[in-house]
Symmetry: C2
Subunit: 295 residues, 2 copies
């Protein structure tokens, strides 16, 4: 595995690979790698000749009261994992390499960045959109891989890739989960054993919503009330939002009948903020989005 700290040598390396007619898959990460990242690496490896992984804890996507200072890092472990997974190139820039003195440009995807996470984390998606645009321009991969766990992020990246004509295909990969259903996240390490138990409430809510829809329920307000009650009963759990929205526009839906609906959850377990989501498809509606995701 080749490692790079600087933009220039990484770009030259990838250019050489592509000039040989080999395809390049890119997985941007913030490190603290887990099985969710590994599933992205494996999907990239199955699609592409070379896998490039970036590890960059992007300060611009953390709010002033968020966990930038204590975000988990273990670079030696990350390097070992990436190397074991046949990652061909690892890009690990420092903050000055990505945001040198005088840096000021912002990429914003305003409508998709407003609801859900955007409402609770002001500036978060401007930080995501800006760094993703940079990383896509640096790597110039054939395909880039994002997890469905960060659904709104995925939608925003798809949108900016199309809007800014970035010639990289966005591939989404299903959420990796622990055996009890908890969505894998680098932030799960913050949870105490008791909190770790409570944290399954997000997946239990997802299952309850799927059962509701599969058994013919389609009243959005009714389902919202049931999920709110279920989560509120969990000790230590505090709801930030429970949202039933259109899976492309993220606008609220009144009825789930005959359409695909995104259920998105943000719940604090103690001090740890967790998110999860699923697509709810009534009987007869395909549980998949249709889209063109290359710019």
């Amino acid at each position: 595995m080749r490692t790079f700290q600087k933009v220039g040598p990484l770009r030259a390396f990838v250019r050489g690979i592509r000039a040989e007619g080999r395809s390049v898959g890119f997985v941007p990460t913030m490190g603290a790698l887990h099985e969710g990242h590994i599933s992205l690496f494996r999907r990239a490896k199955s699609d592409c000749d070379l896998v490039v992984v970036s590890i960059f804890v992007n300060p611009k996507q953390f709010g002033p009261n968020e966990d930038l200072d204590r975000y988990p890092t273990d670079i030696q472990r990350d390097l070992q994992i990436a190397s074991n997974e046949s990652v061909g190139a690892l890009f690990q820039p420092d903050v000055d390499e990505i945001y040198p003195a005088g840096f000021q440009t912002v990429v914003d995807v305003p409508a998709l960045s407003t609801p859900l996470e955007g409402a609770h984390r002001p500036g978060h998606f401007q930080g995501v959109a800006t760094v993703v645009t940079k990383l896509l321009n640096i790597v110039r991969a054939d395909r880039v891989y994002f997890g469905q766990k960060d659904y709104q992020q995925l939608l925003i990246v798809e949108r900016l890739v199309r809007d800014l004509n970035i010639a990289t295909e966005v591939v989404s990969v299903p959420t990796a989960r622990d055996e009890d259903g908890l969505a894998l996240s680098s932030r799960n390490v913050y949870l105490s054993p008791t909190e770790r138990s409570s944290a399954t409430i997000l997946f239990r809510a997802i299952r309850a919503a799927e059962d509701y829809v599969e058994s013919g329920g389609c009243n959005s307000a009714d389902l919202h009330a049931k999920l709110t009650e279920l989560i509120s009963q969990e000790p230590g759990a505090s709801i930030e939002y429970v949202a039933l929205v259109d899976p492309e526009e993220l606008s609220p839906v009144d009825s789930l009948e005959g359409r695909l609906t995104l259920l998105a959850l943000a719940v604090r377990i103690g001090k740890t903020r967790l998110i999860d989501n699923t697509l709810l498809a009534p009987p007869g509606v395909p549980k998949a989005r249709h889209r063109n995701s290359r710019g």
Copy 2:
């Protein structure tokens, strides 16, 4: 000359040229081509194997009370000029090809977009930065050419190319002028013969500023007052701004001593808004900026 209306075929054509090891120079325009554009085409042709020109009147860079509806167009004449100038490919998309339904992403270069033109044309530079980012990603040229007449635009494009790691070199080309010094602009066609005479006041003010500095003057407030008085005496001329600013940050300067200063002017002649600028260099200071302009 090949002509393209769609992103896909243009991109494939340019990719083929570059795969043959030939270099590509790109000149984005809004059409209504004049000698200023031609000087960009010729500079691009002298540097690169293939010249790509785009003609797109970008609605996002016009304010609601600006001249989008009457902006001059003469596509047959433009095609003839481009063809005569050895332009290899002309990209002439319609608005829906650049901004399809659902488009929402904005590229903003906030600090450089705030003063001067930005203060008088809200949203203008977000429109410029967004469309330039798109066009650079579509064409993927080796070099892109901008005129120094739109100095603030040039600075913003240089900044976004560096900030977003766009692998195209930004080349700036000196302002083309009529024999009497009027900077060439597509908007000069709006001027009546009387206004055309008055319009030389911008160049006369530039000359007066250069004389002031060459003869040892370095008081910014004093020079500003002299230029304001000079322009105000011109019949039909009304000042939007006369600015003496740092040529990189666009922040006001108190003294011109020992440094390069940008003089930027925006003046209405009747209803027509004209801009011009020059770099003022006291004796002994080189009249040139130093910068790295590739992302």
